[in-house]
């Protein structure tokens, strides 16, 4: 039975690795300028984790195969080099491995979080609320009008609580349910939570950031490929969580200019 168990472990390990090697399921194509570093990091980690996984399972299976059952006349033996060799191996191999991963990983992280957006980045605000995203563009004046939480009204479609009667800056603000951005143009995303925590997860853009009620956050990114992608909420926000999503439409600059004009006319 020990031998069968060893073979089972081996088969499970190999079968588990096949979809990874064949790349059957994988992150969707990256359309960001910063995403390549994340993908490289994922790939390096996959190699190191994959080798560790297979090597450990194979070693486990081999020893179970080899050292099971009472073998009369044979004395129990100790692993050559004893515990110290294994501890040294763990510290040197795994220590080097994880620190290398950690240090390279910092670079990928820093590219997103420790670099300021360019001065000409296009500002777009996103507000998350149960269970929809709404986007706001500042209009020709380039300034967002203030949010008046007490005036927020889904019933009146005033999703941001804008007071266009009194606030000059709000008058040309454009609020939409879909996010459109020009391709190859840096976007400065201003994140605002209306009610509870949500998340802004766009796998294609390699962007994932929670909305924090009471704390407005900023992100910046550049999309490099025209197309329609999905924005989903990944932070449990209530009964409609699974259905909280929006589209990100990456357009040519000309298409974007047209789109924003149409949206302005609809306000």
């Amino acid at each position: 039975m020990a031998k069968l168990f060893a073979v089972t472990i081996l088969v499970i390990a190999i079968v588990s690795a096949i979809p990874i090697v064949r790349n059957t399921w994988h992150p969707m194509e990256d359309i960001s300028t910063h995403g390549q570093a994340i993908d490289d990091q994922l790939s390096d980690t996959m190699w190191e984790a994959g080798i560790s996984f297979l090597a450990s399972q194979i070693l486990l299976a081999w020893f179970i195969w080899r050292f099971s059952g009472d073998r009369p006349g044979e004395k129990t033996k100790t692993f050559p080099g004893g515990a110290k060799g294994l501890v040294a191996a763990a510290i040197v191999l795994v220590g080097v491995e994880v620190f290398a991963l950690g240090i390279f990983g910092v670079k990928a992280w820093a590219a997103i979080y420790f670099t300021p957006p360019g001065a000409d980045a296009l500002p777009v605000q996103v507000q998350a609320g149960q269970f929809a995203f709404y986007f706001r563009y500042p209009g020709p004046d380039g300034t967002f009008g203030p949010i008046h939480p007490e005036q927020i009204s889904e019933a009146n479609a005033n999703f941001y609580g804008l007071d266009t009667t009194h606030d000059q800056d709000s008058k040309d603000d454009i609020v939409t349910a879909e996010m459109a951005i020009p391709v190859n143009r840096e976007i400065r995303l201003l994140m605002h939570a209306k009610d509870v925590s949500h998340s802004f997860y766009v796998p294609a853009l390699r962007i994932h950031q929670d909305f924090v009620p009471g704390l407005d956050l900023q992100l910046h990114f550049t999309a490099t490929k025209v197309g329609k992608y999905e924005i989903v909420c990944s932070q449990l926000c209530g009964l409609g969580h699974y259905n909280m999503k929006a589209y990100l439409d990456v357009m040519s600059q000309a298409d974007y200019d047209n789109w924003i004009k149409q949206q302005a006319a609809l306000q």
Binding site: F53, L60, R71, T78, V98, Y113, V196, L217, G238, H241
Partner: protein, 594 residues
């Protein structure tokens, strides 16, 4: 070391009435079994809830006959609503994490075996020990109550992120009374666990018999000691956190709710609270909790393996130091749950390195286990199979930690099924394999009868293949960006993944059904199993030198003296290839240190 006054503190006469013997018992062994029974009840509830979830994820509109009996509003026509899915999910996690993974490997086995392993008659504070169980039992009943009160249990997940959890009924079904009941139950649970830890630690430090130095303690007792220290410092943070959460509901405070939140077009009457404060408090408990679930399993399977390998581990001390390192590091890594939470991105890096560092003691533990198998004479039985299975599962769960320790990779994998796979392999399934291994191994001692080993092996084989079939594909789903805590997959790019979910559902139903083999074996063996000898596995530690089941005062009034390190196997003695810890026989012993 041998302190007669401390012994006197633990001494109490055998009970005479049924109630004192079986219900409000002061005997650590009865309390251990009560905890085990509670864990068993909770795991059945948790498993049935997971079936409901899995069926729904595979076939969203499938009517589960009779489900409306659980909740008329949650499952009209036996099909569950989106909110009821989340409520079921929250309760699955809550029952499993608190009432199974904390209760069974730690409180149940720990209670039964710590006094025996240390050579004591009982815990130092038997009344506190009894209160520990009954407090936990009350917490369990309160948690069950939430199914039947108001609009059902909370839907906020076991992590209960604020402000969703703190705003009250306006935030959704179960977010009013459901959260208050949840938080009350958890607060009571924390008290129970603190009572438990306050018994375990002094027992191990002060009630050791003559000759029992700390290094002569068997590995599970070391694991329970380390776990008790973690429990003491983490439950004492969770308790005030949930009390503040309750106050936000009932006393008009705003610890976790900032100003200017709008729900249902209504400005909420809160201000000044912090969303991230809850996450810091919760995860300061939450990450050590992961190790509270897994470290006892590490101790248990080491103990089982050593007995079945007929040789000690390569190094007793390095295993203990590594488990200790896991415990210390577990407080420094909790921020990896919050990489994309809005916490300062510099903090993410600060939390990333200890998280990567924790792979070193984990790797050392795994390599010591595998290295110790070299040259062994492994006996294959249900207990040793589950112990070896634990190692395989822990490796699998461990390597996915490489990914989740890195903030940049979490941009892709945070809150996806990759995370679900990772924590199920480690803290859930590996820990449960540890419980099974301990059960097959110690059942003869705890209940005085042998379990059926053939059924145990069948249980193992089907479970081992089953859990891989359930949780391995979840890694692939995570890589493809499948977000967790969704009740249906209406997002375009997730729809092609439903086939994988259906496969997982079938595997989960199958693996769940297999557990009834264990339950049958457990009940049948409890009443009709072969009577167990005192030392069925030829073990060396003190539990094997007393009758099965042990008498009320464990050692029959004998003052135990220990002469040997815990795992003297592979020696030549009058009993065979081992010498028991309390045997005065002088043999050429093995130095358990290299």
């Amino acid at each position: 070391m041998h302190d007669t006054s401390a012994h006197a503190a633990a001494h109490h006469g055998p009970p005479t009435s049924f109630i004192r013997k079986h219900i409000f018992s002061l005997d650590h062994k009865v309390i251990g079994k009560q905890y085990y029974g509670l864990g068993l009840a909770a795991v059945i509830i948790g498993m049935v809830l997971s079936w409901i979830m899995r069926i729904h994820l595979g076939w969203t509109n499938y009517a589960i006959p009779g489900l409306h009996l659980l909740s008329k509003t949650g499952a009209p026509g036996d099909v569950i609503t989106p909110e009821y899915y989340l409520q079921v999910m929250t309760m699955h996690a809550t029952f499993m994490v608190f009432f199974v993974l904390t209760v069974a490997p730690f409180a149940a086995f720990g209670n039964f075996f710590i006094p025996i392993h240390t050579g004591a008659e009982d815990m130092p504070f038997p009344h506190f020990n009894m209160m520990s169980f009954w407090t936990t039992f009350v917490a369990f009943c309160v948690m069950l109550l939430s199914f039947f009160v108001g609009d059902g249990p909370t839907l906020g997940g076991w992590t209960q992120y604020a402000p969703l959890s703190a705003l009250g009924p306006v935030a959704g079904p179960g977010q009013g009374s459901g959260v208050v009941i949840w938080a009350t139950s958890i607060a009571i649970f924390c008290v129970g666990q603190l009572f438990g830890a306050l018994n375990f630690i002094p027992n191990i430090l002060d009630l050791r018999c003559k000759g029992m130095s700390m290094w002569r303690l068997p590995l599970p007792t070391w694991a329970w000691f380390i776990t008790s220290c973690m429990g003491l410092t983490s439950f004492s943070v969770l308790m005030p956190a949930v009390i503040l959460l309750i106050l936000d509901h009932v006393a008009g405070t705003s610890f976790f709710v900032p100003s200017n939140l709008v729900l249902n077009d209504q400005l909420q009457p809160h201000s000044g609270g912090s969303t991230l404060l809850w996450q810091h408090l919760f995860w300061f408990f939450g990450h050590p909790e992961v190790y509270i679930a897994i470290v006892p399993g590490m101790g248990i399977i080491s103990h089982v393996l050593i007995t079945n390998m007929r040789k000690p581990m390569l190094s007793h001390r390095i295993l203990v130091y590594s488990m200790g390192a896991l415990a210390v590091l577990s407080y420094m890594v909790y921020g990896h749950h919050m990489f994309v939470s809005g916490m300062n991105p510099v903090s993410s890096i600060a939390f990333s390195f200890p998280t990567l560092l924790i792979t070193i003691p984990s790797t050392i533990i795994v390599l010591i286990w595998i290295g110790s198998l070299y040259g062994a004479k492994i006996r294959i039985n249900a207990a040793s199979l589950f112990a070896l299975g634990f190692i395989s599962l822990f490796i699998t769960g461990g390597v996915s930690g490489f990914f989740l320790a890195q903030p940049s990779i979490q941009i892709l994998l945070h809150a996806t099924y990759f995370v679900v796979a990772h924590f199920h392999f480690t803290m859930a399934i590996a820990a449960i394999f540890g419980i099974f291994s301990g059960t097959y191994f110690w059942f003869p001692k705890m209940w005085g009868r042998m379990m059926n080993d053939t059924l145990g092996k069948v249980h193992f084989w089907l479970s081992f293949i089953g859990v891989y079939a359930i949780f391995m594909p979840m890694h692939y789903l995570g890589l493809a960006g499948n977000v967790r805590r969704y009740q249906a997959f209406v997002v375009d790019y997730m729809q092609p993944l439903v086939g994988v979910h259906q496969f997982i559902t079938i595997a989960a139903l199958f693996t769940g059904a297999v557990q009834f083999i264990f339950i049958y074996n457990f009940i049948h063996s409890r009443f009709w199993g072969e009577p167990a000898p005192d030392n069925p596995w030829q073990g060396t530690s003190l539990e094997w030198s007393i009758p099965s089941p042990p008498p009320h005062d464990n050692f029959g009034g004998r003052h135990v003296v220990v002469y040997h390190d815990p795992y003297q196997y592979g020696v030549q003695s009058s009993t065979g290839d081992y010498v028991m810890q309390d045997s005065p026989e002088q043999v050429k012993t093995i130095n358990e240190e290299p």
